[in-house]
């Protein structure tokens, strides 16, 4: 084998810069590995952090490395959601680079790193820093055309979404709605009809110089088409304006989306402002379909997980308790210290489902310690990829054996022993029951959950919100109840028979990254003809969202929630309305 066949990969962080809520990492990467796209993942100790990445030319590095044809050699700026002290390592291709604070150079001035960046890359850094970095005269600013009738359009990125959608991002400079027709070779429609326009603060100065409105300058588009039939590199053709400017200024490669579903989702939803988009239904429909394409493989895969058994399994357990673990795992310690002293747990099969590979090792070390300390047997089902709440629960149920299942969040902690059998008895005694929830409290004894209601809210038109009535009330002021019928219950704690769970096919995994799958399960059970109840005779603590805080809470995640809500409404609008009418 010649040395040409050996893969060489290098990644160097030159410096970092601490911004208000994030950290900017500057550096460069080199690899002989040929890929369609290059991604970097950044991690804290416990989880992967959200980030944005921009690649740019680094002649200083290239001069030194002298990359061969086909090698990848680029500078990067990564904006990562976290402070430098939060970062543990990053992965580039299959290599891991650990952050060593002591040897990392911290930068206080930013200008020196902007050399070599073009305007848009600078704008990226600028918007991340909330700083006004002036665009230097010598940089390759778009040529200012004296022909103000012209429309100038630049596509920054183009992605193929499962060969069924073309996703575009860019900006358009036009005065007075000049842009009427925009075409792509291989696509018959008018692209203008698919553009969503948004504010480009970063191009404010440029917009002023062109007498156009920066608030309308940015665009993104999701165009349904066979992407493999389009010209690649992609060129947009303008029609109806002066001839000298019939094409967009640049050609751009249509790239495949990153394989990682979360990274792909972040790209697709990065600009979408579902709440303020006039045609929410069309946006929701197209973007939801795109998401289903991105997630399709992952959601339909059958997993063959690792099973770790701690202690001797029960022969004929009365109830299987299934708890998904993601991000934070010390809850295992807090739950089991309550379970092992509770006689109700003597004949229970306890199953933790771990679908977060980043904490695999620490989690198993903790499980081993917890088992050896408290002596309570349990199983860990490990899937080497994030399955989401629905997928993790479905997997746990699949590996459980009892007639009854309690689905429990890891941040739900019993207030006292003796609740599980009581829930079982209640479940057995209520006629036509489908799912039994329970009253949940925050740590300060205020209400977290006594059932859910489908709720319309003018802030979020077009979806049914899962409203928690009485949330935050001191528990002493609400009317005490034993068992009450409700529209839905939270997935944080659900008692259900295996027969019904299987009959409705478990949780619907189509709600990407969570939200609404619990109410969806309730609606499926209702459709089957059963009722949903909440048990007020038992109460547990729910330290809500402690385990979910680790998911980035920036715009795209919020957008995703709205799209999931839209999906629920598409599926269940009629059922919910009928239920509301019946009272």
């Amino acid at each position: 084998m010649t040395s040409d066949n050996v893969e060489t990969t290098l990644l160097v962080i030159d410096t970092y810069f601490s911004a208000k809520f994030s950290t900017l990492l500057f550096g460069w990467a080199y690899t002989t590995k040929l890929l369609n796209s290059y991604e970097v993942e950044v991690y804290s100790n416990k989880s992967r952090l959200g980030h944005d990445l921009v690649w740019f030319e680094r002649p200083d590095v290239s001069d030194h490395i002298k990359p061969k044809e086909g090698d990848f050699c680029q500078g990067f700026v990564i904006e990562v959601d976290g402070q430098i002290s939060d970062l543990s390592h990053l992965d580039f291709l299959e290599h891991t680079y650990h952050f060593d604070l002591a040897s990392l150079h911290r930068s206080h001035a930013i200008d020196e790193f902007l050399v070599g960046l073009n305007d848009l890359q600078k704008a990226f850094v600028e918007s991340k820093l909330n700083l006004n970095v002036s665009l230097s005269e010598s940089s390759e600013a778009p040529v200012i055309s004296k022909d103000y009738d012209a429309v100038e359009i630049v596509v920054d990125r183009a992605f193929s979404v499962g060969n069924k959608f073309l996703y575009l991002e860019g900006w358009v400079a036009e005065s007075a709605d000049m842009l009427k027709s925009l075409q792509i070779a291989g696509f018959t429609g008018n692209v203008v009809n698919y553009l969503y326009r948004y504010k480009r603060l970063d191009l404010k100065k440029f917009a002023n110089s062109r007498h156009c409105d920066y608030r309308n300058m940015g665009f993104y588009a999701l165009i349904p088409c066979r992407v493999d039939r389009l010209d690649n590199p992609l060129k947009l053709r303008l029609k109806g304006c002066s001839k000298s400017k019939q094409y967009s200024d640049r050609c751009i490669d249509i790239q495949p989306l990153p394989i990682d579903e979360v990274a792909a989702t972040r790209i697709i939803l990065g600009k979408l402002d579902a709440q303020h988009t006039q045609n929410f239904n069309r946006a929701a429909s197209d973007f939801s379909e795109a998401l289903q394409l991105i997630w399709h493989n992952k959601l339909s895969n059958e997993y063959d997980p690792e099973v770790h058994t701690f202690g001797k399994a029960k022969d004929h357990p009365e109830v299987s308790v299934v708890v998904p673990i993601y991000g934070r795992y010390d809850f295992v310690q807090h739950q089991i210290i309550n379970f092992y002293v509770d006689d109700d747990f003597k004949n229970v099969e306890l199953i933790y489902v771990l679908d977060d590979p980043s904490i695999y090792r620490d989690f198993l070390i903790t499980c081993n310690g917890v088992f050896n300390t408290f002596g309570y047997p349990f199983k860990v089902i490990f899937a080497n990829t994030n399955l989401g709440f629905a997928g993790a629960n479905n997997l746990g149920v699949k590996y459980s054996s009892s007639e009854y299942i309690l689905l429990l969040n890891s941040d739900v902690i019993p207030s006292k022993p003796g609740w599980l059998k009581s829930m079982l008895t209640n479940y057995e005694n209520i006629e036509n029951i489908g799912i039994l929830g329970v009253s949940l409290h925050y740590e300060d004894h205020t209400i977290q959950h006594v059932g859910m209601q489908f709720f319309e809210d003018a802030h979020h038109p077009g979806i049914w919100l899962n409203h928690h009535p009485n949330k935050g009330f001191p528990s002493s002021i609400i009317e005490p109840f034993e068992i009450k019928s409700v529209e839905a219950v939270t997935g944080a704690c659900m008692f259900i028979s295996r027969a019904i769970f299987n009959q409705v096919g478990g949780f619907d995994t189509g709600y990407i990254l969570g939200d609404f799958e619990d109410s969806d399960l309730c609606l499926k059970v209702i459709e089957l003809g059963h009722d949903i109840y909440v048990d007020g005779t038992n109460s547990l603590f729910h330290l809500e969202r402690q385990s979910q805080n680790l998911i980035p809470s920036d715009g795209w995640k919020h957008t995703l929630t709205l799209l999931n809500g839209w999906r629920q409404k598409q599926k269940w609008d009629t059922t919910i309305k009928e239920m509301k009418q019946r009272g």
């Binding site: 010390d330 310690q333 807090h334 210290i337 309550n338 002293v341 620490d362 070390i365 903790t366 310690g369 917890v370 050896n372 300390t373 408290f374 002596g375 941040d411 902690i413 925050y442 740590e443 300060d444 603590f541 330290l543 402690q546």
Partner: protein, 412 residues
Amino acid sequence: MAKKTILIIAHGHPHFHKGGAEKAAFDLYQELRAQGEDAWFLAKTNQKPHGGAAFSAINDGREILFHTSMSDPFLFSNIQTRHLWNDFSDLLRTLKPDIIHCHHYFGLGIELFRIVKKTLSDTRLILTLHEYLAICHNNGQMITPGKSPKLCYKANTVDCHRCFPEKSAGDFFLRERYLKSLLGHVDAFISPSHFLKQRYVDWGLSESLIQVVENGQRPVKKPDLPPISEDRRIRIGYFGQVNKFKGLHILFDALSLLSKHDRNKLAIDVFGANLEHQDSDYQRVIKAALSENDDLVTFHGSYRSEDMASIIMNIDWTIMTSIWWENSPLVIQESFNLGRPVIVSNIGGMSEKVRHGIDGLHFRVGDAVDLARYLALVVSGPEIRNTLAGNIVQPPLLSDTVKELLSSVYCC
């Protein structure tokens, strides 16, 4: 009847670290041996063991060092290492102690209580409470962290979160539940003060399980009080660590408020340890104050407990200016053991152990003006010293407290 085996556990061996709790635990062990009991001493250490061993031994082999550390300091948890559930458990099976008396769980891991009961269910488990460690994440001090600490009267999850914003109220809730659950294995608690006991009762421990037993003193010959005369200054001794919680700066503030006449009649001897370990701001404050007051303050550095009797011969009063609650300060017991009245802040363990106007004086905590008033009083009426010294009740002797433990705590 065979003698009972007693294992004393501490978070450190005084051979390596001289803290009050380590000393109290080791004194107890030595006194048990002296009284002919089958006692063993197990102390956590940071020393390096032989090739990965969890234990090593020093002295006659009854003093065992435990080479372990906590994996989660917030919960005092040590389950990620095998040390508690494997090594310590094996040690228990070998030694088979009838009584285990812990002087801490800090550093060792609070799951040790569970392991004791899981391994030897009949062993009687005793815990001496030091500081407000389970109640307060701020090193068990029950004062707020930050530049100007405030006294805390009761922990609650929301306030604790405000003290430590990186931990949520839910985290503090889980911490409290976890610690209480494991403290539930303890058969009896010892508190060296009523004040400390009450704080733990308010927190939720059962009052009937906590017995107040003072840390005993070794018998000494009391040195005579120094003579009172016009040409001799009244000498006040400060003993202990110098850090902002101990409030030495309050004493300096008070000195600056005294009249020249009073200053000329007063001398302060500071036997203070660990100033070099304090943050630079506090070091600067103290060093500046020392040089401003060099006409009446002498800084001697740290002292050994054994030398206190000779040091105190020339000293009229001792003083304790802490701005946190304390529990049962060793300095007060030592001072009384040597027959000197004490001036203290009027809170917590200090105001409990020193009776105002009987065997010492209370000034308002953190209040230099109030302290200055009492310093002026001590200077203008030097004979008050004699009256208060005469009222001092001999603190309990170690031999007596050990007998009390054997008869009323260990054997129940």
